[in-house]
Symmetry: C2
Subunit: 481 residues, 2 copies
């Protein structure tokens, strides 16, 4: 019989080509083990609430009131909600066109897009146009929409850092384009060398690829580095020279764990460089409510801001956004609250600051604990997590371990991570899921497990790693596993 | 200078080809007029809350509590929330992996998918497997994902009814496939004739197109018809014979305004037909929280259920869903509440029934008022809205009006709808946005304006239409516009 439309043989080849390790083999095995009753520490995804981080109280109060607007008429509402939450809920409900149950404009509510523009202006010191800001169901959807707009086919290339967050490689495969890798330098604290970029572009062009855009992730995932202003300037100059659009994934802009390199947006640097760069380079910047001290991943709220994108293109992006009608409205309100936070003097201000500082300071301590923990392990070296939510240690696998992996039909770091999972319940993602240089192996873990559990987790990692390294030690004559 | 990556000339051609009239020229003009202070009645999108429909109280209470779980520990919670809402909130929070702020599994929460499966089993009388149910950010996203999985390129065709909801034409363009139209018969109450289908498929094959799937919208948008069981049987037999997957858009299954043809799902009919059809035809069915008496469009909650789809394909669909991490979690809870509603005896049951009945009965009356109103107008004929949320009258435009439209550079029905908008503030969608036979013109309006405003709206339509028809009357010697 002929294969049916939804039999594997008949599917869109681009769909089949997509790789997505964050929820790949390791995650599936971890889910199975969890079903069997084993305690799993899910550090495969930056999902803070799943590991016990509490949501900020104030925004949740506001959105709860927006979901239940009839409470606003209840004489008892003040017993459960502070006055500033009530006022904010009224503010946001007035921005909707029928509450949370009505589709908004496909770009998101004009009122919230205005608040985002004001935030960007305060942050960067340059005005921002709400008409060039689109709200999305998480940053992922925005990234996918922009890549879909750019990529015409196989011969269109997008520069993506390696290692990278696999959203990029996956979306490029799905839309049938070509990923053009540029390597981050592990020995330079995962810094970016513009000479590498030049080489990558030259190689791609040699293969007939039109390189159309460059992705930066700042702070980096999985690598955790923060780009310096001078590095960003070089990148922008490079994009200008090579006629590349720049996609700036800045979802971790609140997650900074050192003071030397505070977050600076690609847009601010670009505007500061003046013409022609500030007028010519096409930039799309992405943000989200999923990260920072919010960690509201499940709400699916994000935005992208476009700079130097012509109106006809904006219209096209608007049209395609309209096909799925509207980003979810509750998350638009989270976005409004995030970019327009409480001010000193507001009733809930103190609590808000206490909660948000608490999250960030603890993340900072955990970043330190993890890096130090990994660096104390045999055959493991790890750059400090300057920002974002991940630690990305290099695991120097002995030849015997690599052979054992081959025998088991596994990529070596997958082999290592699976053993780690079985032994400790720690669910990580192998470095191969993000890309890495040949013969070099990593794993990615989030820094999100609860602070008080961190010492135990690092101890259990260390114990596993030591045993693993001993077992596959070249000097020992045997292999137990 | 060479065009930049995001200049119009450089964009993905498939993006440019997308047409999406629901938020097209008419909507943009209506938005402008609204900004200028004119009162606009937005009947371009099925967006009930935007036109004043109130959300059901109980689900909103539950989701508000899930957003603010700290309220569950507040001794005053009982003053604002009934006990059954509190219990349900606890139930759904226990199904999450960290509350509403944590990404769920990319298919949606297992607990809610189980509730969906139970609902389908109760509705259809055949068991349903939660592993084959994926929750989505609205039905739109599910439809797009499935079409993206099916379509490999231009020579893959999908049968789509004409007139159709333009999500289908838009998504097929975006993914680079070919739309294969089959016409619904206006004079047969928008019924579907399998002989037309056969012809459409034959014509497409003649052009070298592999027809892979067929879309049905039941109840119909924009056409409002309900498919009979025997019609569904014919369709399934046809899909089996022609080796087509069937995509069943059943988002309006609660919106039924007559008693002769209650909703019956494609899946129920298929299972009832027994093998080989029940075992062979690949079916994907779509549902949403946006429609019915819920109308929770802004929450973006939906699901699709797959039947006879092999596990390897399900894995591929899961993988691609994972790239955007997770559907929004609050809407997953709305979906759970929708498929698992209150039962007699629950504290909030009476109110829930009163509210939901109120919405449905009023919609039924409004469907009647609109059909009758249109049919009382000169040169307008309109089938009764058996289901869904739309009225789709045919407007018999006199030759002079068609000439005037040509002179104005407009498609005739766009011309008519723009004039209607300017004269009355009623924002409709021209029939050309949905597809129609050559030389025949329609407009689509929702039946959603508030019941008490309906007589005035229909009067103002009638007045406009009469003047329009008089002005362009072939027998009158002049044209004033
Ligand atoms: C670098 C990066 N970009 C984008 C995202 C997507 O976030 P969301 O879709 O939740 O906004 C993530 C999530 O982990 C990420 O790490
Ligand atoms: C026929 C049909 N399918 C799907 C949808 C999409 O609904 P949603 O994405 O809000 O679930 C609509 C919305 O109007 C529709 O009319």
């Amino acid at each position: 019989m002929a294969p049916r439309a939804l039999d594997y043989e008949s599917l869109n080849e681009n769909v089949k080509k997509v790789q997505y390790a964050v929820r790949g083999e390791l995650y599936l095995r971890a889910s199975e083990l969890q079903k069997e009753g084993k305690k799993i520490i899910f550090t495969n995804v930056g999902n803070p609430h799943a590991l016990g981080q509490k949501p900020l109280t104030f925004p949740r109060q506001v959105v709860a009131l927006c979901q239940a607007p009839f409470l606003l008429d209840d004489p008892n509402v003040g017993l459960l909600f502070p006055a500033d939450a009530i006022a904010k809920a009224k503010h946001y409900l007035a921005l909707t066109t029928g509450g949370l149950g009505a589709y908004s404009d496909s770009r998101g509510m004009p009122g919230v897009r205005k608040e985002v523009a004001d935030f960007i202006e305060r942050r960067d010191g340059y005005p921002s146009d709400p008409e060039l800001i689109f709200l999305t169901d998480g940053a992922s959807k925005g990234v996918m929409q922009i890549l879909n707009t750019i990529i015409r086919g196989e011969s269109d290339g997008v520069l993506v850092p390696v290692p990278q967050y696999p959203l990029y490689s996956a979306a490029i495969s799905l839309f049938g384009g070509s990923l053009v890798p540029y390597y981050l330098e592990e020995t330079e604290n995962w810094g970016l060398d513009v000479n590498n970029l030049r080489q990558s572009v030259a190689q791609a062009r040699y293969k007939g690829i039109t390189v159309k855009a460059m992705v930066i992730i700042n702070p980096g995932n999985p690598t955790g580095q923060c780009l310096s202003e001078s590095n960003l300037r070089e990148i922008l100059r490079f994009c200008y020279q090579e006629n590349l659009a720049l996609l700036g994934d800045e979802v971790y802009q609140q997650n900074i764990y050192q003071d030397e390199r505070p977050f600076i947006s690609a847009r601010k640097v670009m505007m500061g460089m003046g013409p022609p760069i500030s007028k010519e380079v096409q930039l799309v910047s992405f943000h989200t409510v999923s990260k920072g001290y919010w960690g509201e991943c499940g709400q699916r709220g994000g935005y992208f801001e476009m700079t130097n994108i012509p109106p006809k293109t904006v219209d096209e992006i608007y049209k395609v956004a309209s096909v799925s009608l509207s980003p979810n409205v509750p998350a638009q309100i989270f976005m409004g609250l995030m970019v327009n936070p409480l001010k000193p003097g507001d009733i809930s201000y103190e609590q808000f600051i206490r909660e948000s500082k608490g999250v960030l300071e603890s993340l900072r301590r955990r970043a330190r604990m993890m890096t130090d923990g990994f660096n104390s392990c045999k055959n493991v070296i790890c750059n400090f997590t300057e920002g974002a939510m991940y630690s990305f240690p290099q695991i120097k696998l002995p030849p015997k371990a690599i052979e054992a992996a081959k025998r088991a039909g596994k990529v070596p770091d997958v082999f290592y991570c699976l053993k780690l999972l079985e032994a400790t319940g720690i669910s990580t993602v192998p470095g191969s899921g993000f890309g890495q240089k040949d013969g070099v192996f990593h794993l990615r873990t989030t820094i999100l497990p609860a602070e008080e559990e961190m010492p135990e987790i690092m101890d259990s990692f260390k114990k596993f790693n030591n045993e693993f390294m001993e077992q596959y030690d070249d000097r020992s004559g045997y292999s137990r596993m």
